[in-house]
């Protein structure tokens, strides 16, 4: 099984984890991408929502588990076919919520381009944006190196 290990800078990443954890907690009762399926019957939509919420919570937990005591000792996180898919999805969920909670003032085209003036953001906004970029980097690494594992699963 293909596996990638990434060594992260602890002084850079550690301060971001509190923000990520806080945002992850806020997702425990809500879907990151709001359930917009108005065409679906209410009963079915509620069932879907419960199932989606359950898997969202499990996947977010899997992402947070990367940053365990071993990570704080070595700075290394590892991805393989067994965790790539849930983690890439968990990153998407948290990035959506980061945007909703901290980055709504940024226009869509500015956010898409990534051309952000950090000085223009307040401190919570700056930290949220750093988390937003950090999680995107994890997604890009997984997609670049483990997309075949995800597609074959």
């Amino acid at each position: 099984m293909k596996r990638i290990e990434v060594k992260l800078s602890l002084p850079v990443v550690a301060p971001l984890l509190d923000v990520i954890k806080e945002v992850a907690d806020s997702l425990s009762t809500d879907l990151a991408a709001s359930n917009t399926l108005a065409e679906v019957e209410t009963e079915l939509r509620d069932t879907w929502r419960d199932e989606l919420l359950l898997s969202q919570n499990e996947e977010v937990k899997q992402l947070l588990a990367l940053f365990d005591t071993e990570f704080f000792a070595t700075g290394v996180v590892a991805f393989d076919g067994s965790n790539a898919e849930p983690i890439v999805r968990a990153c998407a969920a948290i990035r959506l919520r980061l945007r909703e909670r901290f980055l709504l003032d940024l226009k869509e085209d500015v956010l898409e381009s990534g051309d952000i003036e950090l000085e223009a953001l307040d401190e919570p906004g700056r930290r949220a944006f750093m988390c937003y970029l950090f999680l995107a980097t994890i997604q890009e690494l997984i997609i670049q190196h483990l997309d075949s594992s995800i597609l074959e699963n």
């Binding site: 991408a33 359930n35 917009t36 065409e39 679906v40 890439v88 969920a93 945007r99 997604q139």
Partner: protein, 100 residues
């Protein structure tokens, strides 16, 4: 317990349900400024089995036009795809093809 009493026929309700389930339904993915282009391409390849070229075409439609019809067909399958796309955190709506 199901809210509907299945022992009592409900011709009007059945007919309305049948009408709603008939016809073609579109699975439409809406743009969001958060999800990465590479992520959306991966999701389309994974969920629909699209080639890289087709997945990129739909991703660019979403990005540039704000939406892309990624699948059309019977209601039940459309619901399955919509559920799966929501699992991947893509903003998805179902539209009856008759509406267009």
């Amino acid at each position: 317990m199901s809210p509907r009493n299945k022992t009592q026929p409900d011709p009007e309700g059945s007919s309305a349900t049948a009408t709603a389930l008939e016809g073609r339904w579109n699975v439409v993915v809406l743009n969001d400024p958060v999800n990465l282009m590479s992520y959306v391409v991966l999701v389309f390849k994974k969920v629909f089995g699209f080639s890289e070229v087709t997945a990129r075409k739909h991703m660019l439609e979403v990005h540039e036009q704000g939406r892309s019809v990624v699948w059309s067909g019977v209601r039940e399958q459309a619901e399955h795809y919509a559920f799966t796309l929501q699992h991947w955190h893509l903003h998805t709506v179902l539209e009856s093809d008759e509406a267009h």
